[in-house]
Symmetry: D2
Subunit: 158 residues, 4 copies
């Protein structure tokens, strides 16, 4: 074992999540901001689901200004599966970008770093494959203001 | 936004972790098994650190038999940084493989699925880059019995 | 230090929480059931607040059948405070009681054990006292079916 | 339901915990300090157990200066039970008190507020009663410096 990798990281596209932000984020204090959503969707080659409540992100600001995602999401598929999604993640966004976003700008992964790490839990046999994968999400778009939403692509790590 | 990805997932090798298992895992009940470690190392192009206590994994077994990692690790570098590492993850291992491992066999990522998603926290300016990345770990080796350890490669997601 | 207490536990009534259950609980699998609420209230001698989204309980069933509360709640007061509440807890309820509740029965602390342990977080100076207390909640009423809700009294531990 | 309690909080002494601090706390950044312990004991009318690794507290400092306990502890009884303990909690301690403690002073619940909320998990039938109770811990003594430890009384809430 030396300090070079002996494994190869591979990934597979699983789905895209699109979550409208329900209303202005709730600022608890300088270290905690709460977002929530009760609609939106998750679509991919093997899934077509709605985001339902309870879905929220209890976003923490670390002393160095980086953000830590702490999110829980509920998905319901057309064929009756309830899927619990939980994820941490890391966001880097400058104060200027944050302000622009609040004024309605749309940011993408070219502008900001926004990567999450979802895991899934469900008893529905058609979605057992979701229980078996550590996923990673990468922001596709983040828009603030009226009609604000976040979209990210979810990849399964292999 | 359709159900194809608009982003590209990339990764960069950060370090390899090597954590001897301190003693036999502690079985709390059918849903929770606790491992801990108080030595080992993390080495990579930009880091050379020791694993110190408290470091443990409170591994949960879901009803479908897949495992969920719930780990907290403390790293200390030669130049005095204290780095808090926290990660979830997903493990798939068959009862036969688990038994073989307990008897001293070494498993690799060819045998089992064992992927984690670490995030890091530190105030040391030389390691600020760790605060800014969502990482993914992939098992390199998992050995049970005497001299048991787990090793995994850590990649930063971009 | 012997095995008798050297401290005295005291408590003070802080508020009563009344949370209508928004809809039927979402059963993820045999170990996880999700409840959520987006209305209700918290009232006490020093607080009058509304329960808002995101508010949910990700209730886990342990192998021995006891339940573990894992809840996050958001409160908004009339004078503009946003208060984040997070709590674990323990519930003991028999299958017969659970079935009766689902059919609309109201249970109280005479029937079931339902005790939670909330902590609060807010930046609003009028509610700084909430940041400074570990609280305990005891179920006052739990009603299932149409018009279902949970109510509990919250006491600050001293 | 009005803003007076309809329930009565009662409690029962369960045990006293005595946890030597293994070494100087590890300061991650301004918001996170890690303590750990790998010895100590839990004694009460119905339990006599040793504290073993992994046991730690990932103590968070909120923006208002109050502290949030985030602890995981492992207990092992003489008759072979493994008991997982997890607890949050709230600590209020002044900078002066913190400094005095670091220099070796012993503080008690007359000096500081230090209340935790443990829950327990075990499969051992003789300790099934621990699975069924939300507990509260109150600091009995907190000593820093050489020979430092924390002791608290644990009460079951009824």
């Amino acid at each position: 074992m030396s300090h070079t990798p002996s494994t190869r990281l591979e990934h597979e596209y699983l789905m895209t999540l699109h979550a409208p932000v329900a209303e202005a984020p709730q600022q608890v204090d300088g270290s905690l901001t709460i977002f929530h959503s009760d609609r939106g969707w998750a679509k991919g080659p093997r899934i077509d689901a709605a985001i339902v409540a309870p879905t929220g992100d209890w976003l923490r600001t670390l002393p160095d200004g980086t953000l830590r995602v702490d999110a829980r999401m509920t998905l319901r598929t057309g064929d009756g599966a309830v899927i619990h999604v939980v994820y941490g993640g890391v966001i880097r966004i400058s104060p200027q970008q944050f302000q622009a976003m609040g004024a309605g700008a749309m940011l993408t992964s070219d502008d900001i770093y926004f990567v999450t790490a979802p895991v899934f839990q469900t008893a529905h046999p058609d979605y057992a494959w979701l229980n078996q994968v550590q996923a990673v999400g990468k922001v596709a778009a983040l828009k603030g203001g009226e009609g604000g939403y976040v979209a990210y692509d979810i990849f399964g790590i292999r």
